[in-house]
Symmetry: C2
Subunit: 256 residues, 2 copies
């Protein structure tokens, strides 16, 4: 298939490289022509920074830009791709946003966290797909099956709750790691000592319901340790961390 | 060496089994004789529920009980083990608690989360040791080196900050998984879809400083998505999760 991408960021880069294995990548669009060129070169595509310059004889146009920019992109680009399937890659953007301006709409949402420095294991990455028309759902399913062994048809409402859930499971989790690092950094203790604990905690939560394996002073209602920890955070002049420690401990103690 | 343990819970069980590979486990004490017997049987030891019944000719006595119980145990047990090294396994209990009642004191703290259902990879588990006397530090170092390739000498203050850090990296992280599961459960979406994301997030944080790989709506300051997520949590009648979402997003946005 002939596929073009709007976007040259983390998701666009990983997705273009993966799609390039089985398909022809035609154009890479970015508002920054430098970024477009960098990615285009890696997938033997053409770079451009104007929608009007893009080749219109393609099968699928993938919009892989930040959530805020999707609305602007579909408004500007729809007129050039009248009979092309246009799919976005966002967990939190309803398919309606595309459908306001276009007929053949879809979503291909990879439920994973992307960094430029790290390769993605596409085969195990869940891909959540949705399309306005049945034929386009088949088309997206075929593309998705080539990328991953875990392809799911979810509507926008289900996808939105998965994305919300991912904020807890990924973004907030990473912030917990970040806070953990700040605590040991303040005492010149090596953060890497915590790596086995972090990895084991993640694996354990994939094998047991997290509630059933909750450990720590809060779930034991060990107020002495909690007070001591809050005192330590106060001594480090980290009232911000102390507040989060207090609120999360409270939530764990009062979980229904 | 001849080693006895006070405690028959998760840490005591994993530690007794590991120590049993290289040493003789003499007594397992628990206030519950049934628990003591269960563990004692697995490590060919004797079970007891009275300190006065324990054999006194041993090399090391390990106190592996909850933090709250350590004080009571050392008060009751010190008189029977006058010339024995007594070590606790707690991250958050100062060695002074033992030193109030005993001369030869130590700490052997495994920085890991223990469940009865899961085996521990002792070789990669950091062991933090401390002792009141140099000879006992050598003795504990020898025991620790047989268990793990990662043995560290840290004093009580450093160990306490590692334990506080571990609450963020393990306990709060697990609670984030728990909240994530509650969100998808409310929409009948399968929590296992998030497993690759959880594992990748943990691994990424062991290879890059977590602050540098923070993703999600908060770090992008994407107030539209944040508002939408908070509205979804309100619709689920989860004002408790909404508050945590709000506070953690705020903290990420305002991180120094």
């Amino acid at each position: 298939m002939r596929i073009s991408l709007v976007g040259a960021g983390r998701v666009a880069t990983h997705l273009a490289k993966a799609l390039h294995q089985d398909h022809e990548i035609v154009d890479i669009y970015s508002r920054s022509i430098e970024y477009a060129e960098q990615l285009a070169q890696r997938v033997s595509a053409r770079a451009c920074d104007q929608f009007s310059q893009m080749q219109q004889h393609i099968d699928v146009l993938v919009i892989a830009v930040s959530d805020q920019a999707i609305n602007t992109v579909i408004q500007g680009i729809a007129e050039y791709f009248d009979d092309v399937l246009i799919a976005h890659t966002s967990g939190s953007t309803h398919i309606h946003i595309l459908e306001q301006y276009h007929t053949r709409c879809g979503v291909l949402y990879p439920l994973q966290t992307f960094s430029l420095e790290r390769d993605i294991d596409w085969k195990t990455t869940p891909l959540l797909i949705e399309a306005s028309q049945d034929a386009d759902l088949s088309l997206l399913t075929n593309i998705a099956n080539q990328l991953s062994q875990r392809v799911y048809h979810y509507d926008s409402a289900q996808r939105l709750s998965l994305h919300l859930s991912a904020v807890f499971a990924c973004n907030f989790t990473n912030y917990c790691y970040d806070m953990a690092k700040q605590v040991v950094d303040a005492r010149d203790v090596d953060f890497s000592l915590l790596y086995p604990l972090m990895i084991e905690t993640a694996h354990k939560a994939t094998q047991h319901a997290p509630q059933t394996v909750q450990t720590g002073p809060a779930v034991r209602k060990d107020q002495n340790i909690i007070n001591m920890h809050e005192k330590m955070l106060k001594e480090l002049h980290r009232d911000d961390l102390k507040k989060i420690y207090h609120d999360l401990s409270d939530a764990i103690m009062n979980r229904i």
